[in-house]
């Protein structure tokens, strides 16, 4: 029983990574109709920028955090017009074009990180960011500060953005310009300013995710984004594109499932089993378990 509880806690920790990334992914989808397959790579890029700033400033956490957010916002602002240009029709998700474009962005980011930062070797974040000592340790059950913060922030982020997008005027404006820009303009929503705000918002979330991942994982490597990107995409599709609550549930469940498989079966089969389940769901219910929310 102790082992099972420990694995569930580990699973929640892993799942919180997926939740954070899927939330960012879904946010971009909801406010900009962009399917950003390389969103995890962008987050990893922000992690690298954080690392550079931490090294240059003698591990100033505040400046590192600001760098993470700023770099993420900047990247969003720069890449969003590219997506808008390639999408055939605003208001409709053009999967082919945005997916291919984001794959191109992912290729560039991964290769730039392999060449240009730390000679391609992984980077390590200072221990002050993650905390070395467990908050709770009972036998095999152990909870680290990074695990708690990423899970809590993940839940808060999902709840917060759900409320923002569906219960506030600003959120409705974001969704309006994404779904029907002409209609939004007609009702007086300022397109340019609102569009900028929506990209800044997703950039802000991306920066926060980068910081939380730095705290949770303690390190990053150029291929980290690729390693999680396929699972993030699959989680989003299983849950239903744009479904924030669904992403939370499926992300956590997937994390727990992987932890259970690694803990009780074989580690090298954990990916295959997880993907088989995803395959079954996709074939049986292409709109996802909780439905598309676009």
């Amino acid at each position: 029983m102790e082992v099972f509880i420990a694995q569930v806690i580990n699973g929640l920790s892993l799942g919180s990574i997926y939740v954070l990334l899927v939330t960012g992914f879904n946010l971009l989808l909801l406010v900009a109709m962009i399917i950003h397959f390389a969103y995890p790579q962008v987050v990893v890029f922000s992690m690298y920028i954080t690392w550079v700033v931490l090294r240059l400033t003698g591990n100033s956490l505040l400046l590192g955090a600001l760098a993470a957010v700023a770099s993420s916002i900047f990247f969003n602002m720069v890449s969003a017009p590219l997506f808008q240009k390639v999408m055939k029709k605003r208001g409709e998700v053009d999967i082919n074009s945005t997916m291919v474009l984001s794959m191109g962005i992912g290729m560039i980011i991964t290769d730039v990180l392999s060449h240009g930062f730390n000679k391609g070797f992984p980077i390590a974040f200072p221990d002050e960011l993650s905390g070395k000592t467990a908050i709770l340790r009972i036998g095999l059950i152990s909870i680290l500060p990074g695990q708690v913060s990423s899970l809590i922030v993940g839940i808060i982020a999902v709840s917060g953005f759900f409320l923002l997008l569906y219960k506030t005027r600003a959120g409705r404006a974001f969704r309006a310009i994404a779904e029907d820009p002409n209609g939004a303009r007609l009702v007086g929503i300022p397109l340019f300013r609102t569009g900028l705000e929506s990209y800044a918002l997703s950039g802000l979330l991306g920066g926060i995710i980068a910081l939380l991942l730095a705290a949770l994982l303690g390190s990053a490597s150029p291929d980290l984004g690729e390693q999680v990107a396929h699972k993030v995409l699959a989680v989003s599709i299983i849950a239903g594109l744009g479904n924030l609550a669904g992403g939370l549930v499926v992300g956590l469940l997937l994390g727990i499932l992987e932890a259970i498989v690694q803990g009780y079966l074989s580690g090298s089969w954990s990916n295959a089993i997880a993907f088989v389940i995803m395959l079954v769901v996709i074939l049986a219910k292409p709109k996802g378990l909780f439905g598309i929310k676009l």
Binding site: I95, V100, M107, H115, L233, L241, S268, W269, I282, L283
Partner: protein
């Protein structure tokens, strides 16, 4: 391989399962040749057949699925196949298989046989795709790409066409997998990665996804030109591919070789032929 990705994309399916097909057929053929001493010809034929069977079975489920479902299925298969191969000692596991025999018994005969098969396959497949593109089926595929609902209302069976294209594409990929490994005389999991997916995608989108000639131009150029670069620039090859992909998507979404370009070339060449004939 780029043609194997091009064909399903005619109906807007990014069918990445072809990379998994390459691995399955390649390893199967290598196993048969090395363990059971199958002749290479039989192993190659089996590679094609195996690819086709897998492609057909999968296509029964995703022949008319949305694009993202097809993409996920492709990624899933790549993951599953890699996991199975790395846990299967009979095909070398993580070490890979190497020491595949020379076809014909000598390196020179092996090299020429592979070249002959490759170029023969390029001509044959190119011909088939050309005939497909200029047929009713090709026009139906174009209709599906532009507007699936309209295509359905005009009587196009999306699922059947999807199954046909996916099966053909997987068949081709299976054979390519066998050839790929026998050219290197080894198989390793690192030959079949998501990196290959990125390169294939770059080839068809930069060259042009709407005609088969896009691949003919893009594949040798994108692969060959970096070989001429100095190492410092060649090391940024993947970044160059990524930038090129983005620029093409933004500025020239159909790629360099568009159907209009091909039409103009065909018209130009036929006018020249007529002029020569009249002279």
């Amino acid at each position: 391989m780029s043609w194997a990705l091009y064909l399903p994309y005619r109906v807007a399916h990014l069918h990445f399962i072809i990379v998994a097909n390459m691995a399955i057929s390649g390893y199967a053929a290598a196993y048969l040749v090395m363990t059971w001493h199958f002749p290479f010809g039989w192993a190659l034929a089996l590679g094609f057949v195996l690819g086709g069977i897998i492609g057909y079975i999968v296509a029964l489920f995703i022949g008319d699925a949305p694009t993202f479902a097809v993409v996920i299925v492709g990624f899933t298969f790549i993951y599953i196949v890699r996991t199975v191969i790395e846990n299967t000692e009979a095909v070398g596991g993580t070490m890979g298989m190497f020491g595949l025999p020379n076809i014909g018994g000598s390196p020179i005969l092996h090299r020429w046989t592979m070249i002959a098969i490759l170029y023969g396959l390029v001509l044959l497949v190119g011909f088939c795709i050309y005939r497909f593109d200029h047929s009713r089926l090709g026009r139906a595929a174009s209709a599906i790409f532009v507007d699936p609902d309209l295509a359905t209302s005009l009587g196009v069976d999306i699922k059947k066409l999807g199954i046909l294209l996916q099966t053909f594409s997987c068949t081709l990929a299976g054979g390519c997998g066998v050839l790929y490994g026998f050219i290197f005389k080894s198989f390793h999991l690192d030959y079949f990665t998501f990196h290959m997916v990125g390169i294939l995608m770059t080839v068809i989108f930069v060259g042009g996804y709407a005609t088969l000639w896009g691949v003919v131009l893009a594949a040798p150029v994108l692969y060959g030109v970096p070989l001429l670069f100095p190492p410092q620039i060649a090391s940024w090859r993947i970044v160059i591919y990524g930038v090129l992909l983005i620029l093409v998507l933004v500025l020239k979404p159909e790629g360099f070789i568009t159907p209009r370009f091909v039409y103009n070339m065909e018209t130009f060449l036929s006018r020249r032929r007529k002029k020569r004939n009249t002279l």
